[in-house]
Subunit: 149 residues, 2 copies
DNA sequence: GACTTATTGTACCTTATAGTACTATACTCT
DNA sequence: AGAGTATAGTACTATAAGGTACAATAAGTC
């Protein structure tokens, strides 16, 4: 059977990234970009997270996060704070001014997903996302997350 | 309805990239990496392509391809040739030695897809890939390819 | 307590991706 | 033919992504 899941996912990622960047700008969000938005997305849900946990939730390598968080801290989007309970850990949280962006970001995300899933029924979307999550589990089971940690 | 297609696709892309790079190395392919492999993938199918067409087939921006093809040419993977029939175009083709890698790459791809789709029936895979292609069409319809092309 | 191992994050480097601006060529229209 | 427009690709720059190597802290073991 000729499958090409990885290739198709790559194509979708590139297309979606370009469309999403454009939507953010068109909707007047210039405080952060798409990649930063995905990190903010998990921080809006958790308030405060160590970097390794952000890596798990976004599937980004910790080395990627070092640089991303540097730029986001520089831009005033997030703050790094030492964790007194575990001095190896750095706790990341959103700055007060960024909390207000959550609704705006959510609206652009939903606009994006309406295009993404155009022609899909609600049930088809739900079933599709179940598959996406299964694939994430498959890939994570390969031990990638252990090294990523 | 709370959907998060773009976020899940991003996660899959990052995870899949890391796993795929590792598989290529483990299978002894060190002549090229995953991103280069996706460009070779369309060249194996078409023998000779102008750069813009590679962009359409891979969903990469032409500016991305300039740099990628520079490195691939430098590494002896591909060749650029002027198109006498249209002097704006550059035709890209695979070097003879790279033609032999096609089978090897295909095997690693299929190994990757077996992990990717672990627990999926053939019918589920087929249905899922139909959805992926629908999403590509949705995103392309946003006019992104016009600017890219 | 000292020694080893595991965890957490960073520094440094390379490649990938794409936007903006540009050059060169082709096409269109009068 | 000449003027304007569209197409094809590159140069330059910035950000994203991650691998290798490392430092600091914590946890486990004797």
């Amino acid at each position: 059977m000729e499958t090409q899941g990885g290739f198709l996912i790559s194509r979708i990622k590139h297309l979606a990234d370009r469309v999403f960047e454009r939507m953010l700008k068109e909707c007047g969000i210039d405080a952060f970009n798409g990649a930063q938005g995905r990190i903010l997305y998990v921080l809006w849900q958790h308030e405060e997270l160590p970097i390794g946990r952000i890596g798990q939730l976004t599937s980004l390598a910790k080395t990627t996060l070092t640089g991303m968080l540097d730029r986001m801290e520089e831009a005033g989007l997030i703050r790094r704070m030492a964790n007194p309970g575990n001095r190896r850990q750095i706790l990341v949280s959103i700055t007060p001014k960024m909390k207000d962006y959550r609704d705006q970001y959510e609206q652009v995300s939903q606009k994006m997903n309406r295009l993404f899933y155009k022609g899909f029924s609600d049930e088809e979307i739900a079933r599709f996302e179940v598959r996406l999550k299964a694939i994430i589990r498959n890939l994570e089971s390969e031990g990638d997350d252990l090294e990523n940690g």
